[in-house]
């Protein structure tokens, strides 16, 4: 098991390193140069380049960047937030995004599971139909549209919630963005739970358990839900990454200073900020690969068959 874990972790790290190198290299070969040529002559530029280490091989520059990045130093912003160290801006943004995304994940997963289970237990009845319609709407409408709708109705027409995010009233003003973000998770989880549980209910081992006289909570929780949960974890993983990082438009609309908004600003803002794109790219890739890795490992915990198969691979 340990060998399996180490192997996966190692692979993930190598993948991440390759991606970071590609990003770094792409940003380096980008057109443009850091020195305004009309104010400096060629010799001055050459000296400055040598001083900043821009003439070194890309690999050396990359190693330098990585070592600094591991210490939390991603350089300074160039266009937006000019001169401000990126890690101070970034850490604040991560805090905001993670909190709102985290609330959305918890709400979405819990309500989604509940909805899915109720729907599966009442197959073909009203609740099942409701769950289906709900999950269809949730999947078909982007979260920012929900936010626009909620913002218009409950912050503008009925001014109950703040129209924009207010860090001083964190809980109150994160209701609308969290809710709109959680709807997609909620509907996806609900639909998946329902379908998985229905499938497990029809399986031979549940029939056997049923025919041996098992019913009620024990049957649902221990035999059906536990087996239905395994595929749900795989669906949940990309959702988690999306919510932690992909709340781009939601953050932009609601004026939340999160990493999503930073990303949008870095791409579109006043000119494009190479340093931010690089730092955010690394952050996003690391999160994405990290969550995928976690799912891989969690899968082994949830499904004993995979653990056994991994052991067999080692032998």
């Amino acid at each position: 098991m340990l060998k399996y874990v180490l192997k996966r972790v190692g692979l993930a790290l190598i993948t991440l390193l390759i991606i970071v190198f590609l990003l770094f290299w792409l940003v380096r070969v980008m057109p443009g140069n850091p020195f305004p040529s009309e104010r400096m002559n060629d010799i001055q530029i050459a000296n400055k380049r040598a001083e900043m280490g821009l003439d070194d091989p890309v690999l050396v520059q990359f190693a330098r960047y990585i070592i600094k990045a591991l210490q939390g130093d991603f350089g300074n912003g160039t266009s937006l937030y000019y001169g401000v160290p990126i890690n101070t801006v970034l850490s604040k943004a991560i805090g905001n995004s993670f909190r709102i995304g985290g609330i959305a994940i918890v709400i979405g997963t819990l309500i989604g599971l509940l909805l899915g289970i109720t729907a599966a237990l009442n197959r073909g009845k009203f609740l099942d139909g409701f769950c289906t319609v709900f999950s269809i709407i949730g999947v078909c409408v982007p979260s920012y549209v929900f936010l626009i709708f909620l913002q218009y109705n409950f912050a503008f027409r009925i001014p109950f919630f703040p129209y924009f995010f207010d860090p001083n009233r964190f809980v109150f003003s994160s209701v609308l963005p969290s809710l709109s973000l959680s709807l997609f998770t909620m509907s996806t989880i609900a639909r998946f739970t329902r379908n998985e549980m229905v499938e497990v209910f029809d399986s031979d081992y549940v029939r056997l358990a049923e025919s041996k006289g098992m019913y009620g909570r024990t049957l649902v929780l221990r035999h059906v839900l536990r087996n239905a949960l395994i595929p749900i974890v795989t669906v949940l993983a990309p959702l988690v990454v999306d919510l932690l990082t992909g709340a781009l438009v939601v953050e932009k609309i609601y004026g939340i200073n999160g990493i999503g908004k930073l990303m949008v600003d870095a791409i579109t803002g006043e000119g494009i900020d190479y340093n931010y794109v690089l730092a955010l790219g690394i952050l996003y890739s690391a999160l994405y690969i990290g969550v995928m890795l976690a799912v891989d490992l969690l899968y082994g915990v949830l499904d004993p068959r995979i653990r056994v198969a991994a052991k067999g691979e080692e032998a």
Binding site: T15, V27, I148, D202, A266, T268, I272, S285
Partner: protein, 348 residues
Amino acid sequence: MAKKNIQPAAAAAQSVYTPVPGDFELLHRRDIRTDANFASQSYWKGVFTHFFKNKRAVVGLIIITVIILLALFGPIMNSYDYKDIVQFRNEKNKRVVAKGIAPRIPGLHKLLTGEEYDDSFKDLTFLFGTDDLGRDLWTRTWYGARVSLAIAFITIFIDMIIGMSYGLISGYFGGLADNIMQRFVEIANSVPRLVIVSVLAIFMPKGMALVVVALLLTEWIGMSKIARAEMLKIKEQEYVLASRTLGARNSHIIFREILPNTIGPIITQVMFSIPTAIFTEAFLSFVGVGIVLPHCSVGTLIEDGFNNITTLPYQILPPIIVLALLMLGFNFIGDGLREALAPKLEDM
């Protein structure tokens, strides 16, 4: 029982076994079913019957057909242009711009309320109203739908070709080639789509090309995985061996012998990729790196609507509804196809 097997399909459909008094009594529970025997039919015919029996799939097909027709012919249904501002000179020879007019149909309005509109546009019909600049939203909505659909169809088609070839080749040759190709896919798959977009935005000017390239770079991976899985399933079959024995070249076996048999799952994947493409396009356009003026897409229309939501709240509704219906339609068709291609016993 043997006699039943050779009955034609139509009769067989009704030939559900009916109990006779001498039999066991049927338990009247809905989840227990009696068997029915069907005559065999060709694979694709079966798929089609199954698909059209699925209510949801048919609804999806109708929705998509209607939207495509409207996207094609909607903009030419009235005299306005998608980028022109509706304006004219009134009786006093003053220029009037039809800015921010809520949806209206004069005849219907008179029928319902008994009174005419009393502004300068009293005879004009705006089914979806006009936007803050005075452009007709009906025309713009369907023009935007056309742009969004065109982007989705073109990119997904190219992605399908790339992904399919990649997956089939990787799966067919196996061994070292497969190993290298799959490592590449793994790495490509680990790069979040947003990171790709952000790096692209540095290289390319914003616009349709950016959206297309971003989608080209990301969407082929899913197709290649499915194509490879199908290839691994099929390549062990006897007919492939027979073809090889007869001296067929690898390219012939891959693209002429095996590809037609993998097409079903790939088309299903295409149906699920199209909404993703539309979603991504809408997102990029909303953020502002997508479609540029004077063109519009569903995404830019939603953004326009959002910018004017406090003053012209009706403006955001048409593009949102079109977007949601597109998602719904393609998802329904995809689900229907998947079920029709691999029917479970229970659905028979």
